[in-house]
Structure formats: C-alpha cells, structure tokens
Amino acid sequence: MQPGTRSLTLLLIILLLFHGSRAIAESRDQDESGTINLSPLLLVPESVFLTDHCDEAREWFDEGVLLSDNSNREIYFYQRAIDLCPGFIAAHNRLAEVYKNQGKYILSIDEFKQARIQAFSSDRFASISGSKALFLESVISLGEIYRIQGKYKLAAEEFSKALQIDPASPAAQNQLQYVYKRMHRYDDALSSHNRLLDNAIFTRIPGMTLPRNTFTFDLQYRTWSQTAPIAPFTVESWRVISQFIFSPTIPDELKLLLFTEELIPERNADNPVGPLDEFIQGFLVFDERKATVNVGALSMRYGITNSLTIGVVPKFFARSVDIEFNDFNSINELDKQTVYGIGDTELFLKYHIWSKRHQHISIYSRFTLPTGDVMEVVGEEPLITRQNFPTGEGTFITENWEFKRYIPFGSESYDITPGLAFTLGLDPVILLTNMQYRFTDGEQIGDEFRLNCAAIYPMNRIINITMEMNYRWAGNVKRVQNITFFKIRPSSLNLNPGTPAGPVNGDIEFTELGGHSLFLSPGFQVNVTERTKLEFGMQIPVIRQTDGWMENIIYHLGVTFVTF
C-alpha cells in the first residue's frame, strides 16, 4: 500500500470515529450529563496524519470563517478542515464555538478538549501567539460553557487554569469574577494582585486609614552617622558633680591649689555670668562631634473602624559616640563607646476626615512616651600631665582616671506631634504628603516641624520606585552635657601660670541651635507577596543646618506586612 493510500485509509477511520463520537455526544447532549469520552485516537500525535493536506484544510477553514453564521454549513467547513488536518487547533476552536452558539454544549466541550490536546502536542506551545493562545481560548471557552450550564465549580476550575497559564488573561479574569460572585465568593472575586495605595519610605504616614479589623506590621531599620560642627555653646548653668581626688602621691601643696566650691559662683539674677563662667566657657568649645546611630522601630497599627487607626511604635537604639574637647586634642584618646537601649515609644492615632476616590486626607497625632533610657558610658582617659597639657611644663602626674558620659535615648518628656496627611492616587503614580509639628519642652529634643512629599511609581507589579523630599526645621535645644574640664592654678599663687590643678566633672546646660534641613530621598520597594513588602531607601541631605547635629546619608531598610 502506498503511503498516501495508507494515510487516506487512516483518515477515513478517524472520520468515522469522529462522527461516531459526535453522534454519541450529541445524544448525551439531550440529557446534559456533561460527561464525554475522548477517543483514544485523538491522542495520536499530529505527525501521524497527513500534513500536506493542511493547506487545503486552511481553505476549508477560511470558508467557514467567511460564513460565520453559526450554521450547519459552517460546521461542515470546519469538520472538513479537521478531517484534512486533525492538528488544526483553530478549526477545533471555531467548530466548538459554533456548537456552543448552537447550544450543543457537549459537542462543543468535546471539540474544545480536542483543541486543547492538539495545542499541548504542538511544538509551538510555548509561543503565546501560537498554540498557547489557542489553548487559552479553548480553556476559557470551555469554562464559559460550564458557566452557561450553571456548573460554576467546573467553570471556575477552567478559568483558574487559564490564569495559571496566563495570569493577565482579561477574558479569564472577567469570567472568573462572575462565577465567583454567583458562588457568593466575593472575597475571591477580584484578582489577588489589586495593589494597595502604597506608602512611601520616609513619608510614612499616608492620607488613608486602615480598613476595619486590619493590622499592619512594619519593621524598620535605619542607620546613619551624624556630626556636630565646632561651635561654642552658650552655657546656661553648670553644676559640679565631682572633683578629681588626686592620689596620695600628689604633694599636699598641689591639693591646696584646687579650686574650691566658693570660687565657682552660682549663676543667679544678680550674677548671670560670673567671671569664672567666662573662663569655663572657654574650655567648653566642643570640637567636631561624631556619632553613629542605628535605630530599629517596630510599628504596629490597627484599624478600629474604617476611619480610625491606632498604633504603637517602640524604638531601639544603638549609638556610638565620641566627644572631643577643643583644647585637649593632644590628649584625646577616647575609645568610641557603643551603647544599646530602648528609645522613646510613640503612640499613634489617626482619623480619616475626607476622601474622594483616590484622594484621602487624615489628621493624626503622635504621642511620645519618654521610655528612652539615659545610658551611662564609663571609661578611662589619661590624667593631665605637664608634658601634654597645652600650657604646662614638665610631668608631675601620670595616671588615668575614670570618667562617665551620659547619652540620652529619649526626650525625657511627654511630647505631642499633631499632623495632617494627604494621599493622591493618580494611576499609576501615588503622591503622598504630610506635615507635622512636634511640641516639646525644649530640653534634650527641641520643637520640630517636618514637611514630607513623596511620589511612588510602580515599575511593575513587583517593584515600586520612590522619590521623596523631606524638609525639617529644628528648634533650639537646651541640652545637659556631663563633661570634665580641668582647673588651672590661680595666678594669685604665683606658680607657673596655666599649671593644671586637676579635673572637675560637672553637668553643663547649654543651648544647641537648630536650623533647616532638606533631604532628597530615593528608594525602591519590592512586593514580595500581596501583603509583604521590602523597602530600601536613603536620605541624602541637600541642605544642611549649620548648627547642631546634622545627619549624613541615612540608610533605610524595612519590611511591611499587612493583614486583610
């Protein structure tokens, strides 16, 4: 038997089987049992059949498309096309579509399933424009038939299957949401990736509040180094805490040379600046100060109602501090000390006052609880010697002495920070802004005004890029600094002028000046899951205040989790 004849015979057998199976299926269509049996021959690979008839099959198919009237004649054209080229997926789909439009759902299901099998067996399946698209069409159409039959569960399975292959398939999404709603599964109705109105990295308070019974957990870590420039401080007062007690080896006459308490006049109304104050102030010119700060904050927020959100934000600090004295550079051998501790805790209350589509305005207030510790740093530094004292001569004391530093991790006061937040969702960009003013008692931490603006642009469903501008005005701060300075022998003793008499440890109150700062803050966010987001950003100072502490680049790393 010639190959062509053999193939023709095979084709005739398949035709008979096809028509036979259709007749069976058609009869089943009457009782809508919904069960069909696929002929095993349909699983035969495409290559078995005559492929040189596929061109002719295309002509039959085109004739059917030309007709497009859901008639039996149109069916005939597609059947002829399939007979000639069984792997002709589009013909299967069109034939099934016509059956569907004629209400012959069982036959239609049969054809769609055949289209699926042929699509799977095609080596072009990976191409979305080829077999994959046709496969999708068959799956979605099959789901639609189940929908028409009221078999929602089966329909949902088919549409879900289509979305597994192509998550962006609008037709599958459209049909699936309808089916879910018919099943009263409203929570599943919309695709899961409907994104939140995102929050910015540094402009953290948005205009909207959380939906009722919703939690967000927000873990942030920030690190930066900060410096304070060389600056004299206006000493408000100082109080001697302890004087150094020389060792017994020190000659008695030196002890006599110590300043006594009465030589240090108290500041009062009559004597606002005593002569010794001026003298002391000369020694209180700090050199450039440096610190490295690490902050961890865990924010927990909860939507009590749709318009009211509460939250609590405890903070943890790790701070390394180095303080130098301007006139004692030659003896500055302080080790950098790192301390850890709890900072102030914030309570958070926000109320949503207005919204219009993606525009939201809320008012909020942060309450600061002074849970921050004052950390004591203990260390040793060399005692003054004649050799290394700037104005002294010779060596007469050579030993170390213990010193203490006190580093505050909080404001040590109850502060309130009211603010206003606004969010505008301009698909796809989200704009956020908020402003707040912190009222303080002006000690340790001064008043502060912040204005933050942010724009968030989603590059895709996973990555958002953010750009922010953060303005800050800081008020003057009254600080207390525990420092040590060194007494000088009074000239009335007619000893070598400038000869050190020993250290005195005391609390100095002084005013640190505030100023204006502006940061430019780029960053990006990664949506790890629908509810979990990682973020990384940095604040780059573009305008720096000239007095007081000023941060260098601040690095931020955070993770946010939302519960719905």
């Binding site: 459209n174 949401q177 709603k181 939906p211 219009k356």
Partner: protein, 427 residues
C-alpha cells in the same frame, strides 16, 4: 439614463469586463481612468444628477490599487459583487463619490473594504466586509470637502476580522460625517468595532458588536469639534476594551440607551479616561442600559466617568462588574439605578470601604454612596449565566424607573430599569 452592467466575471474574464465597461462608458459620457491595467474605475464627466451606474454580479480582485474608485456625485450601485485582494481599498469613493453597495462580499483588500474620502454618500447594505488589512470601513472628511457633509449608512452588514477596526469615521473638517449604523454584526476586528473622531455624528442601533480588539464603540476628539453619538438598542459584549468609550463628545437626543453591555474586558461605559482638556467636552446621557459583568484586572466598572463634563446615569441596571458599579468623582448625575454585586460587595452593601486599596471594590467608587432612587438588590435576571438579562416577574427593577422626558422615550416608554429586551437584536 441608467446603465446596467451585469456580468459573471472571474479570472480572465476581468479583462473582458474591463473592455466592455470601457466601451460603454465612453459612449455614455463617462471616462475611465487610465491607471493600472487591472483597475476598474469610473469618473463622472457630466453634471447630470439623474444618471446611475449599476455594477452587479462581478468579481473584482487582485488589482494593484483599489478594486473600484468612484468620484463625482453620480450614483453608483454595486450589488452582488465580490471585491477582494486588491492592493488598496476594495471600493474607494472620494471627492463627492456617491455609492450604494448591496449584497457584496468585500474582503482581504490591502487597506479597507470601503473607503470614503470626502465622499458625499455611502450606503452599504447586506454585505460582508471582512479580513481587510485595515478597517472594514474607513470614512474620512478632510479640510476642504466639496460637499456639505458625508452621509454614510450601514445596514445589516457583517463586518469582521479586519486588521484594524470595523468602522472608522473621522472628520477634520467643519462639515460633518453623518454615520448611521443599524442591524449590523461587527465582531472580531482587531481594533474598535466602531470608532468615530471629531466632527462625526453617529447613530448606532440594533447592532451586535462583540469580540473586537479594543472598544466596542469609541468616540474621540483630536481637534475643536466634538463627535456626537446616539447608541441604542445594541448588544455590545466581549470586547477587549470598554463596551463604549467616550473619550470626549456628547450624546444626541437619544443618548446611550436601551443597550445590553456585558462582559467587555474593561468598563461597560467609560467616559473621559485620560487627562487633558478633552475631559471637559463630555456631555453624555446613559439611560436604561443593562450593564453586566464588565472588567478585568484593575479595571472594570459598570459606568466609569473620569471626565469633568456631564454624565447622567439613570434607570440602568449595573451588576456583576469587576471592580465597581459606578465610578465617578461625585455621582452628581446618577440616580434611579439598580446596582448589585459589583466589586467585592454583595447584594445590599454599598461599599466595602477598603480605602487603602488602589482599586475600590465596591458598588460606588468615588461617590458617597447610594444615590437618589437607587436600588441595591439582585435584579433577578432570567438567566444571566446564558447572557439573558431579561427580568423575572418579581424583579425589583420592574416599575422602578423614573420617567425620561425625550422624544425617544416618549415613543418607547419603559417603566423598568435596564434595557427593554424586545428592542434588542437576537443573540
């Protein structure tokens, strides 16, 4: 005087036909283009308005340029012809061309099946316009037309599988295109089923417009004159964009009324989707439509209004839409609508208030909530699974409509919310 050519022509007979036409037209004060050899064309040489040319039962195919090119206002009737695989348009009517096309099959041409450039009148009836490389029908009015307007009627045609839109009409001139589209089936075109731009008035009735690549019907403005449209008694479904998209423009005396608009993959009806001054130029009335199950992904509102113009939404049934039922900044023009199962909200809830989501999954998005006369209840369709949105006898949408005072609704009063099924074409 009437010239009546009747030939059964195919293949080599074309040359014979050409010779006959050349002979007859020469003797009847008509001249023939001296263009490409394969071309058949007519140009009016006399000013007589009484003459008419009839081209019937021809197959005109595989010409380098258009199958037919018709100029001048002498009426040309093309009936029962196959016009296909020509290098440009199947039939090109220009410069006041006046053509009546009936029962013809015009397909696989290099540009559109029928092109009208400054034509005075084009009438297409009972024809198939399909698989052309651009729109099925493209009508254009340029800046200096010879006539006052272009009148285009499309009745009972099938316009499908064209590589651009189904019908595209654009007028950059102050003289309008008047486009009447009735009882057609417009489907599976790669772009919009019907797209009108600028100075075009369109009335579309009793059509089935489905599975087109973008919108079912789209309405744009690119210059100063807004398009105008009346869309009524149509079924518009399964399109890949909105069912009806009014970027800018206004509705006429009927508005967008009595349509079934369902399962389109973006909004059912979208107005003013983008930013720009065009947003102001919207004045649309949306009455008595049944808008069901539209949307996908992040989009999919029953009626979506991003414009700052006027959009009045009354007596509609809006249900099962993807993200929300009505999306409007204030819903000022909305009332007496029935909403159900839009977004993630079930029957009686107006809103889920998931305000921290970018997409509002609620019946009303942007509005405060239920508007005057609105009903939040299951409309009780006869068989929505099979796309039958007729109302059951005990539907809450029955007798719930407010009266619309217009000549159209005076003739076709409807006490029920949604579209009157009897007015619609069969599925």
């Amino acid at each position: 005087m009437m010239l009546d050519f009747k030939f059964h022509v195919s293949g080599l007979r074309l040359l014979f036909l050409y010779s006959i036409i050349l002979f007859l037209c020469s003797g009847c004060s008509y001249s023939i283009f001296s263009g490409p050899r394969e071309k058949i064309g007519f140009e009016r040489a006399s000013a007589s308005g009484q003459q008419k040319i009839i081209i019937a039962d021809n197959a005109i195919y595989q010409n380098n340029r258009s199958g037919m090119q018709i100029r001048g206002n002498t009426p040309v009737k093309v009936t029962n012809c196959d016009v296909y695989q020509n290098g440009r348009a199947g039939i090109n009517a220009e410069n006041s061309g006046n053509v009546f096309i009936e029962s013809s099959n015009i397909f696989q041409n290099g540009t559109s099946a029928v092109v009208g450039n400054n034509a005075s009148r084009i009438f297409v009836k009972n024809s198939l316009l399909h698989q052309n490389h651009r729109a099925g029908m493209r009508i254009r009015m340029s800046e200096k037309p010879l006539q006052e307007s272009t009148l285009v009627s499309l009745i009972n045609n099938k316009i499908f599988l064209n590589e651009r839109g189904g019908v595209h009409a654009i007028s950059n001139a102050l003289t309008p295109i008047r486009l009447f589209v009735s009882e057609n089936v417009i489907y599976r075109n790669h772009e919009a089923g019907i797209r009108i731009e600028d100075n075009v008035y369109m009335a579309a009735a009793m059509n089935k417009i489905y599975r087109n690549g973008t919108s079912g019907i789209a309405c744009y403005i690119t210059n100063d004159v807004s398009p105008k449209l009346d869309v009524y008694q149509n079924k518009i479904y399964f399109n890949r964009g909105p069912g009806i998209f009014v970027h800018s423009g206004s509705t006429g005396s009927i508005g967008i009324s009595n349509n079934w608009i369902y399962n389109n993959q973006l909004a059912g009806i979208a107005c003013g989707l983008w930013d720009g001054p065009e947003k102001e130029k919207i004045d649309v009335e949306i009455f008595h439509n049944t808008i069901v199950g539209n949307g996908s992904d992040d989009n999919g509102t029953g009626v979506r209004n991003y414009s700052r113009g006027t959009v009045r939404v009354k007596n509609n049934i809006i249900s099962y839409n993807f993200t929300s039922g009505i999306l409007d900044d204030n819903c000022r023009g909305s009332s007496y609508n029935l909403l159900f199962a839009n977004g993630q909200t079930s029957s009686a809830k107006a809103s889920s208030r998931r305000q921290s989501l970018f997409i509002e999954r609620e019946q009303y998005a942007g509005c405060i909530g239920k508007q005057w006369g609105d009903i939040l209840a299951d409309p009780l369709f006869v068989n929505p699974d099979q796309y039958d949105f007729s109302l059951q006898d005990d539907s809450p949408a029955r007798d719930a409509a407010t009266t619309i005072h217009s000549s159209y609704f005076n003739k076709l009063p409807n006490n029920n919310l949604g579209a009157a099924p009897l007015l619609l074409p069969d599925r």
